[in-house]
Symmetry: C2
Subunit: 370 residues, 2 copies
């Protein structure tokens, strides 16, 4: 028996047109470890926007109900050659109710339950998901469980990465985001020192009201002084940067080196012998990353992605992380949304031009049944 329902698709063609549209789709009967979910809620995360909007021009796009066609500029058009002409689903994560299952025990055990899932096709009325990756939500609402994977596992993943690499302090950029607030709560619980970098006074206040000890404002004239002081006090030589473009990572490495070299007894032409590392885990800014020659050669800049991290961490750690998320879903791991939209509502000019900005604290939740 095939189920039908509405689903969002994104198609980039070689002529530079990006089409987003809601269309009727059919969903096969689940087999083996698969479950079929009636989707109830799915967040629009920055990691969804790469495929959903990218760098396309939605100010001057062609809007009609349930559909929009926008121009994709170079070099982003050729940069995504691999997807040209492919009609792709979207939506990393969400929550819904299991309405059919494959015949494995793991799948059958979920029948009728509300679960969080990571299907990669969450912007849809139905989705097929892997039972092993489903988290039963018990009495929690779909809204409470919709964002229980990407942000919670990512912020837990940062703390886990820091521990694995021998650090007890972290620098985090764009730190007032949903993810940043979550990371702040985790760090307080785990005794991991955290230097939060934000760029607005109200975000300093927000994080301080949530117990953050070190919050520095990159819009202040004495930003670099504030940052050096916080690094000196915490010994934070590991950073996580969701911005990527521009000089944010550069500033962090520079401040780290200035602190480390000021603590050296003797001048070295190679700079300090302190390892300094920043992970870039997002591209809120599509401009190039600029690394100036101001911190010697003992540094690393590396991309951080959730899936390779989870593979590196291993199943046992991942299961523990998910149990911790479930046990603290409405406290440590709570997410907040600015707006709710249905599938058609995702494709209005007003909505797209708002959520694609990824403003701090202004996340959208998609409720595909309205």
């Amino acid at each position: 028996m095939t189920t039908t329902g509405k689903q969002l698709f994104t198609t980039l063609t070689a002529d530079g047109k990006l089409t987003l549209e809601v269309a009727e789709a059919s969903f096969p009967e689940p087999t083996g470890n698969q479950v079929l979910l009636k989707m109830e809620a799915a967040p629009i995360n920055p990691s969804d926007l790469a495929i959903l909007t990218g760098a396309a021009d939605f100010e001057n796009a062609d809007y009609s109900p349930g559909k929009v066609v926008a121009d994709m500029p170079e070099p982003f058009l050729s940069g995504q050659k691999g997807r040209h002409g492919q009609r792709l689903p979207a939506g990393n994560e969400g929550a819904g109710t299991v309405v059919a299952t494959g015949d494995s025990d793991a799948a059958k055990a979920l029948m009728g339950q509300r679960v969080a899932c990571v299907p990669g096709t969450a912007f849809s009325q139905y989705a097929i998901a892997d039972a092993m990756m489903c988290l039963p939500l018990g009495d929690h609402s779909a809204e409470a469980g919709a964002s229980s994977f990407v942000n919670p596992m990512t912020s837990l993943g940062f703390v886990e990465t820091a521990k694995m690499e021998g650090h007890d302090a972290i620098v985090h950029l764009a730190a007032a985001s949903n993810l940043g607030q979550m990371l702040n709560r985790i760090c307080i619980e785990d005794g991991m020192k955290l230097v939060n970098i934000v760029r607005r006074k109200e975000h300093v206040d927000l994080l301080k009201s949530q117990g953050a000890q070190y919050v520095v404002n990159s819009s202040d004239d004495d930003f670099m002084d504030q940052l050096r002081s916080a690094i000196a006090e915490t010994g934070a030589y590991l950073g996580f940067d969701p911005i990527g473009g521009g000089k944010n990572t550069d500033h962090v490495l520079k401040a780290m080196e200035q602190v480390a070299s000021s603590q050296m007894k003797e001048f070295s032409r190679y700079g300090s012998n302190q390892d300094k590392k920043v992970y870039i885990y997002g591209r809120l800014d599509f401009s190039p990353t600029i690394l100036t020659p101001s911190y010697g050669l003992q540094w690393t800049v590396s991309g951080w992605l959730l899936t390779p991290f989870l593979q590196r961490a291993g199943m046992e750690t991942v299961v523990k992380m998910r149990q911790r998320v479930l046990a603290n879903l409405t406290t440590t791991f709570a997410s907040h949304y600015k707006s709710k939209v249905d599938l058609e509502g995702m494709l209005t000019k007003e909505a797209i031009c708002d959520y694609r900005q990824m403003k701090t604290g202004e996340k959208y939740l998609v409720t595909p049944w309205g």
Copy 2:
């Protein structure tokens, strides 16, 4: 008994003046593991230039015999705050004859021998060095042994790093350098595949005449095509870049990702799941490193320095590497010099403005006794 002789010193003062001068210096009697060397030859390596010339203006400097005073521009002046006012020796490595020793057995065993050494003070008529870091040269000349540490250990270190990280192919930039030619010989001996990037036709010919299989020319219109082909054929996802500034590292990462994603069966919004890494081991170009958002987030750019690498590799590996260097000093590990200068000769306008350009195949050798 104190020995006296001429030595080169470099001093950067807070007012922005960089002074290089040859002065009479005294050298203490060696103790313990130390030996006193009468220095015979020392190369001017790119790694020496950071402290020797940096970004100072030697076109318009004030030259007198055995002395030059040049202006150091910002941000390089403040960037080296740690050395302001300090009168520093220079010269990482060289070769000389042991004329006095401390009382340890290791030191005494070297008495009268010609050795290669890494004193950090090699631009001098005498130098104190650690016996453990001295390599007895047997019948080799000082010129043959002068460069037996930095380039040989660095190029061997690249191959060792690649093996430690599970690679069997390397991309190398500015590959026609003394170090690059050495790396090519090592890779041929060890069966490590090597993609050489150069920017002049004569360097393509030079490396091919030395048996290099993959040489791509960044000045050719189809450079990126050449690079992608070479990466596809070798599977080289580890690069070493001595240039640092500009888009060289970016081009390598981009080509790696294009090859990897073209080999994927399915489109992924996150790009390929192939790890891609470039080590920056020098700064031939002082402009910022530019990393464009064109290769997903599964990449790493990291500094590579010899000393931390040797510490990571461990004493046993280091001893094996040095034995290999000594056994092949005039073949695999041979260096070539464009000019020989004495200490005063290092400080003429003609010499400085030439060797600071670090042109491929135009290395200087300092012979401090003329």
